[in-house]
């Protein structure tokens, strides 16, 4: 099998798990599509190093990159496109039907409902800190100024809020993975 075929085999095998992984962390199928494309573009650019690794190692590599993509997106509120641009890849538009299918397969509706419920359980301070930092993408300095607290306290509130959410959603994630 030549390199192009080997790469495409990896793509066909892992595209759905990667897409679902990213969609569940961004709650946005369109963003997930962009990040998935960038992840596979990075894999293609790194193929020289990946080609001889086992399938398991390739998978681990892909998900590490996908996780970094998500992290970068959440931090900067923008999608990294360097690899797709360098390769001249045109990321296709998401079709409405595709969005519905991916939302369903990633269980986004249930996840959003669960998140909404858990957000309501957070303290008002934590919720406000999360809103400023995550939704409005304010810097910690701005979050601190808006809430009238120190930057350290702002970081702590955001961090605790995220931890609380992650902790609350853990059973759901485990149940989902167990059902696979």
């Amino acid at each position: 099998m030549d390199d192009a075929n080997a790469f495409m085999a990896l793509y066909v095998r892992e595209r759905e798990p990667v897409m679902v992984f990213v969609a569940r962390r961004t709650l946005d199928v369109s963003v997930a599509a962009d990040l998935t494309a960038e992840t596979f573009a990075l894999a293609l650019r790194s193929w020289v190093r990946l080609a001889d690794r086992s399938d398991l190692e390739k998978r681990a590599w892909l998900f590490t990159v996908a996780r970094r993509q998500v992290s970068g997106y959440l931090r900067h509120a923008r999608v990294e496109r360097r690899a797709v641009e360098r390769l001249g890849i045109r990321v296709p538009q998401m079709h409405e039907d595709d969005v519905a299918v991916i939302e369903e397969r990633a269980g986004l509706r249930e996840l959003r409902e669960a998140l909404q419920g858990e957000l309501a359980r957070l303290s008002r301070d934590q919720r406000e800190a999360l809103r400023l930092r995550v939704v409005e993408d304010r810097s910690y300095e701005e979050v601190a100024a808006a809430l009238g607290i120190s930057q350290q306290a702002a970081r702590a509130r955001v961090s605790r809020g995220l931890r609380a959410l992650a902790h609350a959603l853990e059973p759901q994630r485990a149940a989902r993975e167990a059902s696979r």
């Binding site: 946005d28 369109s30 963003v31 596979f40 296709p92 299918v101 406000e128 409005e136």
Partner: protein, 536 residues
């Protein structure tokens, strides 16, 4: 998930890149002569087919506004931008029109209208040059309120002649919309609905000539009418005549607001502004107009929320409102849920009057002479199920902290309350003269309220505004829901610019802790940008 088109298309792109990376040169060298001939033939055929399109020259893309100039609520998220695929015909047979949807970081649905040439989204100028519209450019953003469409409005493109001008009626009716019809010249157009109930139709001429009326019918048969050439903000008369009062309401968009939380505010309209004219500076809001505080409530829990308060000269609350030295008034204001069919206000003297409700956002208000004791007022809500509920004093209000409160924020008295026992009254007229103007006492009021005025306004969602440098009107806009923007595009004659009336705001939305709702109640947006930004 292999059946997904996205995966197939992305796979094709990746495979192309992978093969180019590995054996692209070799395969190119081995390409048979017959294949090249076929490619040439296909190109020739395509050339004939595309000849008409090629007559349209391509210009520099129209840039979006500077990233830093847009708030998160109007900045499209990468990857969320997509066309509705509606392909509305142009009245003169020009390139078809479509609506481009996107989502902002704060979850608002944003739209931009444009034409499609060679699969690209942009605008064909009067100079015959097609310019792509940058991804950052949006016309309007909005969120779903308690009822009705998310966005509905029109975009006006100026022409050298009336016939060249275009009024592009468009919006997002939402997934529960069953039909959208537009009444205009030539009768009714029943529009095809795209994703999320998106719709678009294009008329030749200016909006005040077209006078389009959009009627959205939802699954339950409820109709929502947006009359673009008539109604605007709900207005209520002042008891002593003069400038009316604007009543604005809408969803509370602060991040910690409840989903069903709505807000309402009343502000006296200032000197009627001139309609915005491309090429002229946007008139700043007149700050000396008195306004109430913004009050909020939850319309899923309560049928309405209402504040009843007296304001006297000098009243203020720093950062929330200023009454200045305006004569005293007692104001009843709030918002009602759709299940409230009508409102009636009873005064101490036994008088009774109907209170109009703005059916677009539920807002209502009555302005009385300051001699009217708010404690003596009684608001009666008649519900659709036949139930009647009486409200004495402020009720069902929620604070900015998300808790029920019994009264709106208390003013800091700038001068003694003239109605307190033993004090003189500085109001211009005696209490006995309190009498609403006839126009304010004439129920039933049409659902849309009385016609208001069109006006230009400053778009407060833009952090940067109105460059003092030589400017050129841009088609790039970011506006409130239902607002329109009149843009002059490169290639569209400036000389032909003329005063254009703006469109009504479908749903005013207010941010909590705002000094004035009305200042944000934008009916029209003209963003002026340095000429160099257009690459001209």
């Amino acid at each position: 998930m292999s059946e997904l088109r996205f995966f197939e298309e992305l796979g094709a792109e990746l495979e192309r890149a992978a093969r180019a990376d590995t054996d692209g040169r070799a395969s190119s060298a081995r390409r048979p002569v017959w294949l090249a001939a076929v490619v040439v033939a296909l190109l020739l055929l395509a050339g004939v087919a595309a000849a008409a399109v090629l007559l349209i020259r391509q210009g520099q893309p129209l840039p979006g506004p500077p990233t830093g100039a847009l708030g998160a609520d109007v900045r499209p998220l990468p990857g969320s931008v997509r066309l509705a695929g509606l392909d509305a015909p142009d009245p003169a047979g020009g390139p078809r029109w479509d609506i481009r949807r996107s989502r902002s970081a704060t979850g608002e649905t944003c739209t931009a209208v444009g034409q499609i040439v060679n699969g690209r989204f942009g605008i064909l100028g009067l100079d015959g040059v097609f310019r792509r519209l940058g991804l950052g450019g949006v016309d309007a953003c909005g969120v779903r309120g308690i009822a009705g469409p998310v966005l509905a409005g029109a975009r006006v493109f100026i022409g050298r002649t009336e016939a060249q001008a275009r009024t592009v009626v468009n919006g997002i009716a939402g997934n529960d919309a069953r039909s959208v019809s537009v009444y205009g010249p030539g009768g009714v157009r029943r529009l095809r609905l795209g994703p999320d109930g998106s719709f678009i139709t294009v008329y030749a001429g200016y909006v005040e000539d077209v006078r389009p009326k959009i009627v959205v019918v939802d699954r339950d048969g409820r109709r929502y009418t947006v009359d673009l050439a008539n109604s605007h903000t709900l207005q209520t008369a002042d008891p002593q005549g003069g400038a009316p009062w604007n009543v604005t309401g809408g969803a509370d968009l602060s991040g910690d607001a409840y989903p069903d939380e709505e807000c309402s505010q009343v502000q006296r309209s200032s000197v009627p502004p001139e309609p915005g004219v491309p090429g002229q500076a946007v008139r700043p809001p007149v700050l000396a107009t008195p306004a109430t505080s913004q009050v909020c409530g939850r319309l899923a829990i309560d049928p309405l929320f209402v504040a009843m308060q007296r304001f006297v000269p000098g009243d203020e609350r720093t950062g929330q409102w200023y009454w200045f030295d305006n004569p005293a008034r007692t104001i009843v204001w709030g918002a009602a849920a759709p299940r409230v069919s009508s409102l009636e206000l009873k005064t101490a003297t036994g008088g009774s009057r109907g209170v109009p409700i703005d059916r677009r956002d539920g807002a209502f208000a009555v302005v009385l002479d300051g001699g009217e004791d708010p404690g003596s007022l009684e608001l009666i809500a008649h519900l659709a199920d036949g139930q009647t509920i009486d409200f004495k004093g402020s009720a069902n209000l929620w604070s900015a902290e998300g808790a029920p409160v019994s009264a709106p924020p208390t003013p800091t008295r700038g001068s003694p309350n003239p109605f307190a026992r033993g004090r003189g009254s500085p109001v211009a007229r005696p209490i006995a003269s309190t009498r609403p103007s006839p126009s304010d006492c004439t129920p039933p009021i049409p659902p849309e309220g009385r016609p208001g005025r069109y006006g230009a306004g400053k778009n407060h969602r833009l952090k940067e505004q109105a460059s003092p440098a030589p400017t050129h009107e841009s088609a790039i806009t970011a506006s409130r829901p239902g607002s329109s923007s009149t843009g002059e595009l490169p290639g569209r004659s400036r000389a032909a610019s003329r005063s254009r009336s703006a469109l009504p705001t479908l749903r005013a939305r207010n941010h909590r802790r705002s000094p004035s709702c009305s200042a944000r109640h934008i009916s029209r947006t003209l963003i002026r940008m340095p000429r160099r930004l257009h690459g001209s």
